[in-house]
């Protein structure tokens, strides 16, 4: 920072002022899940999110579905990122999503009951994965389960939305934007323009 011009220092001070932190869905879990950078004002965050649309049983199922779709491994999963909060918030505000989610959950429970004799949330994780596999993979799909396939695609879409717009998800990707760089970032592989000799993939 020492060699920065007065202009830039002034600008950074201004940026710190405009940095805002919201009390928005998905936040209640971040206090324990992600580290916070020093320039954020410590505003109170809701300790728990109160669902606006889903019934408790539905909410639990959506939470499980999101975690099945983006599970915790070396990095936090959808549950830790509070994706269910985001989905509930979006569905509560979007009339066109309410029926597909509600009907889809009902379909999924009926499907689970037919295969394993219990609602989806009552199945073992292995059973849940097997059921979702039938909806997710082309090779396993059955034409009579189109409604379930569409529901799975919908939940997956909103899980991706919710996860990769959370702090946890952006950290998972190591999202490099919305940061301050002192010069326009430059390709570090100058002697390898075609990038055919890069270090072995990390992931």
């Amino acid at each position: 920072m020492a060699n920065q011009s007065p202009d830039r220092r002034e600008m950074l001070a201004m940026l710190a002022k405009v940095a805002v932190i919201g009390q928005f869905p998905g936040f209640s879990r971040w206090a324990c899940a992600g580290e916070h950078s020093h320039d954020q004002p410590s505003s109170p965050r809701p300790a728990t999110y109160q669902p606006l649309f889903f019934q408790p049983s539905e909410y639990k199922t959506i939470d499980q579905l999101t975690e099945l779709i983006i599970p915790k491994d070396d990095s936090p999963g959808a549950h830790d990122a509070g994706v269910v909060e985001f989905i509930d918030f979006m569905v509560a505000h979007d009339d066109e999503l309410q029926y597909p989610f509600r009907a889809g959950l009902a379909w999924l429970n009926a499907f689970a009951t037919e295969k394993y004799g219990a609602d989806f949330s009552g199945l073992t994780p292995q059973e849940q994965e097997i059921l979702l596999g039938k909806l997710a993979y082309r090779a396993q799909r059955s034409p009579v389960e189109v409604q379930g396939q569409e529901f799975f695609a919908l939940v997956r879409k909103y899980t991706v939305f919710g996860y990769y717009t959370s702090r946890i998800g952006l950290e998972e990707l190591d999202y490099p934007g919305l940061q301050i760089y002192s010069a326009s970032p430059e390709c570090p592989h100058k002697d390898d323009p075609e990038h055919k000799h890069l270090p072995a993939p990390r992931f």
């Binding site: 202009d7 830039r8 301050i180 970032p185 592989h189 992931f203």
Partner: protein, 551 residues
């Protein structure tokens, strides 16, 4: 009380109006600027540094409102800034999306910043290929204005010696990212230029404005003023001069005329009171943007001007041109799979470009005339859109999203439409906006020439991807007409008053104290973006106006 008469009334404060205001106030003219909406407050209105999780709807917007968003720039970050209240209509069969920013500064608050000069290959295109007319200016005449504009606003690029792209006075270029280096290598194999874009983004402190910090969210507005917009660059000094009064929420309705049919002022609707107000001036500059300017002229009917002011040629509103936009090709780089993320998304648009390479030596080499340019995009962006195309769920799905994060690449075409009688703006005979002003109606369709460019571009970009070692996924769609925001042609400039609305200086042939300072005066559309040329032509027009006042 004697009525106040300003030297000049300027309608609009975007690129064209802002530059006219800047030049006129500097020359000592008393200016009243009419602006259709409010002033923005960068601290409140520019949310460009918010992370998606700082927004209630993560940037996707409240579904109740987001269904009415017009185009990608109208979003949760910019909510409340794009215009939704003023009606426009489309003729049967026409599809047109029309984003309008009526806030002070207009679209310069959010523009794409690509800033290539037009050249004689554009101004004299008709002489080369026989279609339509040459512009009534030469590059030699315009070059000094471009240079002055570049010095004012700061454009980062390199000298490239391209036949279709005159070089200018540039700040250091943006650096190439990994995807640029890879594509640059491929481009050499297929003979397509791949070069640093000309981008009005400050790569160092310039003219009192701080250098860019490369946060990558420019299109949500810049709260440090590190790219050109009139509220950051022009309007503060003009207001400080004491020569400028900006009236906000002043929606221009029609030009007023005196007993000779000359412009005497402007009638506008105050959006806060819904009352009609008149303001008087010795000259009027119309700079409301291409379609709005035509609407205002056509709505300015009087005894002298039954078909709309300055429209004895019948050409006001005709000849509407646009850029055909669309994604020519998508792919991904296997060589980047699993590599660490890299700051690719540092300008939210264009670090590099592929400037026109068609029909250069021989104007009729291709099946189409003229040419198009392409903007590449890719790398680590704000959201993994490619996740849609992956199958499955669980750990593999999550890992695949991460593995592919640095790899996406796509190409966006900027193809000019050619002048056509079938594309125009008229006044809807039945529909008025909520303030009672007759609405603009747009009649538009793509022409064969730009569709041939689209086909050509798809093949070229597929070839480039393969030559770069990328996997080709496929082509995207052509965007809805109007997407580019690069409308031109509704008040064309030309020497013959029978066929053109303004003379070569942007002064209307019919009404000597009425000037037009936006892209509506451009006789046609080129492969280049419009803003820097709006600035250059507006500066020239404003100085012509100043000369005329002295005379």
């Amino acid at each position: 009380m004697a009525k106040q008469i300003y030297d000049v009334i300027v309608i609009g404060t975007g690129a064209g109006g802002g530059m006219a205001i800047h030049a006129l106030c500097e020359a000592g003219a008393k200016v009243c600027a009419l602006n259709g909406s409010r002033r923005l407050d960068p601290r409140k209105d520019f949310r460009n540094h918010r992370q998606p999780y700082d927004m209630p709807f993560r940037g996707f917007g409240d579904p109740k409102k987001s269904k009415d968003y017009i185009g990608y720039m109208d979003n949760e970050y910019t909510e409340g800034i794009w215009e939704h209240e003023i009606a426009y209509t489309t003729a049967p069969g026409t599809v047109w999306t029309w984003r309008r920013c009526f806030a002070v500064g207009g679209k310069t608050n959010f523009w794409g910043r690509s800033s290539a000069r037009f050249g004689d290959i554009d101004f004299k295109a008709a002489s080369r290929d026989g279609y339509d007319v040459d512009w009534p200016v030469t590059y030699a005449e315009m070059a000094p204005y471009y240079s002055r504009v570049e010095r004012m606003i700061g454009v980062a690029s390199t000298v490239q010696n391209r036949p279709s792209n005159p070089d200018g006075e540039y700040l250091p270029p943006m650096n190439f990212r990994c995807i640029d280096r890879i594509l640059e290598s491929g481009s050499k194999k297929v003979g397509i230029p791949y070069l640093p874009d000309r981008i009005a983004q400050l790569t160092r402190n310039h003219a009192g404005h701080p250098a860019c910090h490369y946060c990558g969210n420019c299109t949500e507005g810049c709260d440090t003023g590190s790219f050109f917009s009139t509220p950051w660059f022009f309007l503060p000094a003009a207001e400080k001069s004491g020569n400028l009064e900006i009236r906000t929420n002043a929606l221009a309705k029609n030009i007023l005329t005196d007993e000779n049919g000359h412009a005497s002022g402007v009638a506008y609707v105050d959006r806060t009171t819904k009352q009609e107000v008149e303001v008087y001036g010795r000259a009027v500059v119309v700079a409301a943007s291409c379609v709005e300017s035509a609407r205002i002229l056509l709505n300015s009917k009087s005894r002298h001007w039954p078909g709309g002011i300055a429209n004895s040629s019948g050409q006001v509103g005709r000849n509407l041109c646009d850029h055909l936009y669309g994604t020519l090709a998508r792919g991904f780089f296997p060589q980047l799979l699993g590599q660490p993320s890299f700051p690719d998304n540092v300008s939210s648009s264009t670090v590099a470009w592929m400037p026109r390479w068609q029909n250069l030596e021989n104007p009729k080499q291709e099946k189409f005339i003229r040419g198009y340019s392409v903007y590449p995009d890719g790398g680590c962006s704000g959201f993994p859109y490619y996740a849609d195309r992956l199958e499955g769920f669980g750990r593999n799905f999550k890992r695949e999203i991460k593995r592919r994060y640095p790899t996406p690449v796509s190409f966006y075409i900027q193809a000019p439409t050619q002048r056509s009688d079938s594309n125009y703006v008229s006044i809807d005979p039945d529909v008025k906006d909520i303030f009672g002003i007759p609405a603009a109606r747009i009649t538009f369709e793509w022409g064969k020439n730009e569709l041939l460019m689209w086909e050509h571009g798809k093949q070229a970009c597929e070839d480039l991807l393969r030559a770069s070692g990328a996997e080709y996924i496929g082509a995207g769609e052509i965007d809805i007409p109007g997407t580019s925001l690069h409308e031109t042609g509704t008040c064309r400039m030309g020497n013959d008053p029978k066929h053109f609305v303004t003379n070569r200086f942007g002064q209307t042939h019919d009404v000597p104290n009425l000037y037009i300072c936006d892209a509506s005066v451009f006789p046609n559309c080129t492969d280049k973006t419009t803003t820097i040329s709006i600035l250059a032509f507006s500066l020239r027009t404003a100085e012509h106006l100043i000369e005329n006042r002295k005379a």
